[in-house]
Symmetry: D2
Subunit: 356 residues, 4 copies
């Protein structure tokens, strides 16, 4: 076999672990050679778990001290631009977790830098690599349900996001941190860009969770109109408590297709007529998308080896960010927002504090 692609991980947290696991155990063509995270304790634990030999506080150090081909960025969103620009400047290929960045100008800088450096950029929309999502996408594109008319996509997660991820002044909140996948999937599966967005939000569990962040919400419902004339809905709930829930319903002129299920393992049990039938729920995103995470890493490694363009790249990340911005502005201003309002004025976003 050819020489393995050498990878540096930026971020030793949950997503960093998840991708390290996929790479180390299931992608023989890759070798994780370094791990960057300023939190030394977490870094050491992750490095030990996956046998990563070199650990650093900063990407700069890693670049100086270790040879590698690609950087996988799983750090908080507000760090994405700086890390991506630095990596591109040193000719490293980049796998960038969603959401791509905080606003469109950051997205544009990242895209420009990777183009200029001639490196590949893949976005972390792993649903595109999920066997169910991708089979469904192919069947839809082949016309099985006719021209798509309406889509409903949801991501409901069991736990409360970290403080920065629920504060729209530093992160764009749940619409970005949880529902980025829905923004990408609806656009992908409908085969059309969103044109107009209307959003309602609610805060049900904030008080009980001692969250007093301004504009915090834990429930969101977005109404979409696509350029094709199609309609859509995205919902987010976090924390939802009952499991990890990621499903799509898409309605075409000829029929409907349902993708995904709340059902976990195929084990049904019944021991009591009053309780009824029990079945395990899908508990977590690593469980739900285990193969998707392997396949997206295989794809990234393969694109580097064969010098091919990743299937899901900067433009896709930028569109998802645009949707997030339109959706957020909608609930703040209590009105439908056109994507063209967002796309035509790439100035800093009013509700963000992007001084950092």
């Amino acid at each position: 076999m050819s020489k393995p692609v050498r990878i540096c991980m930026a971020g030793a947290g949950r997503v960093g672990k998840n991708h390290s696991n996929a790479l180390v155990r299931h992608v023989p063509g890759a070798k994780v050679v370094a791990l960057v995270d300023p939190a030394a304790e977490v870094r050491s634990a992750t490095a030990a778990q996956f046998g990563i030999e070199a650990g650093f506080d900063s990407l700069e150090e890693a670049i100086d001290r270790v040879e590698f081909d690609a950087l996988i960025i799983t750090t908080p969103t507000f760090t994405h631009k700086a890390l991506a620009l630095q990596a591109a400047a040193h000719g490293k290929h980049i796998f960038l977790e969603k959401p791509m960045a905080l606003n469109l100008s950051e997205c544009d800088e990242i895209i420009a830098a990777t183009r200029q450096a001639g490196v590949h950029l893949q976005l972390g929309f792993m649903r595109r690599f999920d066997p169910e999502f991708s089979a469904a996408a192919q069947r839809i594109e082949a016309g099985e349900i006719g021209r798509p008319m309406m889509i409903k996509s949801l991501t409901h997660g069991p736990g409360l996001p970290p403080p920065w991820a629920r504060d729209i002044s530093v992160s764009n909140g749940m619409l970005a941190e949880v529902n980025s996948h829905d923004w990408d999937s609806t656009r992908w599966l409908m085969g059309s860009n969103y044109e107009r967005v209307y959003t309602e939000v609610a805060n049900f569990k904030g008080p009980a969770n001692n969250v007093d962040t301004p504009n915090f919400y834990d429930n969101v419902m977005v109404n979409l109109r696509f350029e094709s004339g199609g309609l859509g809905m995205i919902s987010g709930i976090c924390p939802c408590g009952y499991g990890y829930d990621a499903r799509v319903e898409i309605y075409g002129e000829k029929g409907v297709m349902f993708i995904g299920s709340l059902q976990g393992q195929h084990i049904l049990s019944a021991t009591n007529r009053d309780t009824g039938i029990l079945q395990p729920v899908t508990r977590t995103w690593p469980e739900r998308f285990a193969w998707a995470y392997i396949y997206e890493m295989e794809h990234f490694v393969d694109c580097i080896k064969k010098d091919r363009q990743p299937r899901v790249a900067g433009e896709d990340g930028r569109w998802a960010v645009a949707g997030v911005l339109a959706g957020t502005r909608s609930f703040l201003e209590e009105r439908p927002v056109y994507l063209k309002e967002i796309l035509e004025s790439v100035e800093p976003v009013s509700w963000q504090n992007t001084a950092q």
Copy 2:
């Protein structure tokens, strides 16, 4: 057994037949004594099918010539007010199909007339009597999923509605004729009234079906905010082609509940690895809600016999009409509409031609 409740049917079409079937075959406490429909041929066929002895062109004739206790109104919406007022004036109890009427002033007239006459008024929201919907409602009310945060309700029907039912100038269109059930169910299951509504519509199949009615739409997606702070979504597709689809997902602080299924009979088959597993779909509303139609008729007959107030009455019908008006105004004016805008000005609706 006590003397049967004598019933006159107004309307010999699909819904009239459906209710006649429930009454004649499954509600021994009732007797259908008359059928009113100006379309003589349809009337004769329905009368023959269900052994109804007396048939008339108008309600007036029926009142003059036959003794009966209650009127079941299944005629087009624009006829509801006149028939209900006439029935009330003669002391007849009324079962009124959804949507209750074209606007709030009509609703108010009907409510006032029945109160004044001291007759019972039941609205045709049969989902309240469906074993699954009603069991779910009880479990939600008992706190099983905690305080409701979000609801999604859909009604997608297989066929194209009749011309009057898709023309908002005479009917309020699909939001009223198809989605009235969703307006009622979401308010019922959330235990809260809607506060604000935003609607997107699309017209995908109109051209192929030679529909050139202004403002016609065959896809609708409504975003709801409830007084409780909860969020909601209603979708409608007609014709959807693939079956009759009526499902609810409701998310509370403690968990989720799904009501209904697209699955019809429990017969799975597999004869080909490429085709996969097949299961019958729910084809029609009489099939999906067979027991609900029987139970709502039993309830109506029982309320008359025992002089009790029906569980679903004029106020419920009026709220559904208010939602429909807010939803329709929203897509016409491309903005979120508050229910208070609708409730505070009970003037004729701008897009309706209510000269008839």
Copy 3:
């Protein structure tokens, strides 16, 4: 409508109530005019519940005092022959619950008596009228899964049968009292008679339930070979505790068909990641086969009105009894038993005490 068919019920217990309910509430062409049961208290309660005016200790009295057209027999199996013969002698049509009788000579006497009297005889195999079983049967007969190769049929019931029904010296035990439906369904759906039978039994819960009846079993597994060369399996568990379970899997040369489900109402809920997803179970046979019980009664009444032969009659009942006898002999003698052994010698059954 024509004059209702007048019916006398023999048996006021659970099955008698179930059929009275179907007739009184859902079969307008019938009128239940009398109820026979020597247990006066049960009889009065059932009569009151369904508005049956005349109650008697014995069929003789009923025949003397009330005019009726048909008798529905739901009493214990060991009483079937005497009641059926008496009814036939007085020209009454007969609906006879399963199992038909204790042995083949009793079956033969019943068949002969009804033929001689020219009355109709319908057996209580309601699965033949279940919408799912009957649709599946039609599809199988139309060739959808090809020539049937193998069938698996089960009936597991939640509760412990009454003492007489678990004592093979007076009833043929669970194979007869619970699994009669499986004997009929497998033969019907395979389109072939059984040729050879092998049975294993187990007694797991008897001791805890203080059952010390000789040869008592609460688990049974039957291996079948059909005349067609096809194979089959019948299983019975009673009490199974977890619900009422009646399902069939049938495998043909072209594919498989599954009939029925343990799932009750289409209400899924999830409130806890450890518990998972919950769905109501099918709890009881009246719930599972509600429509089947209505349709079998409609069919019986219709056959009387139109003087037609019932779709499921004496021969079907006799075959099920033959299967039961072969299955019972098999586990007693620990060997496969050919049906011809049973069919060729219609002498009294060795393990039965038929002195009564």
Copy 4:
């Protein structure tokens, strides 16, 4: 990481490819260093697909020319004993595909040889490593459904086995080649050995497939009694055409548990009311048991590294062979066969031609 375990594959066919895929792509602790198969063309193709550098006609050559730690045997059953003995003699750990061998004396020789050589022996019962089967087993052992009373296990495969695998004179036929997994799973999940076995077989598709092998069957139904008093059923159909079907139902004193499903991907579609709802079927065993194959290889490699006894070993393989022999004798002699008959006389099997 520690030095990888060096593996030689014996067999380059479907199962050999499947295990090579698991090892090469998903078990970083292993390295496949050699492939043995006398069929040079197949061997080259498999070697090329998985980057295996050394290929040989015989195990002898591989042992002479390449250093390795373990042998994975996926060749036809009649070759198992010779290969295993040869490997053990050279101190190689052994992973042996099911069925273990043709008869009990072969099993005993293999067990003795591995013990004497001090090498590990793991049997290819991958269901023990399937996330669903193993979770279910743990829950059953923890008492969730109470003491097991009855089990039903099936394996139905889409295609016709190769000629040697359907000829009981050289292979023990479908009961061994397809249903070995069921023999192992039923014993494992019931927590008890089988005591008595009765089998019926049928040949439905042989003629159309030009199979004229004596005693060929393509449908089998086994009735089991366990030492615990529990009952069981195993069914096999091959070719079944409709998919790959491997499911278990197990009934305990407290309730039931269902393991597995015929359902493949969670993609439901509906485009036609007459066709109904479609869902992909599980098509193949590599698809159904993808994770099980990875985990059983991880376990084997891990046991070698840590010098631990594999969880599923020679005794388990021997018990499955004993079941197969009892089941085969049963249908040949048309009587129930006790396991003790098989276990007490370990002479050559009457229907086998073991001259090879």
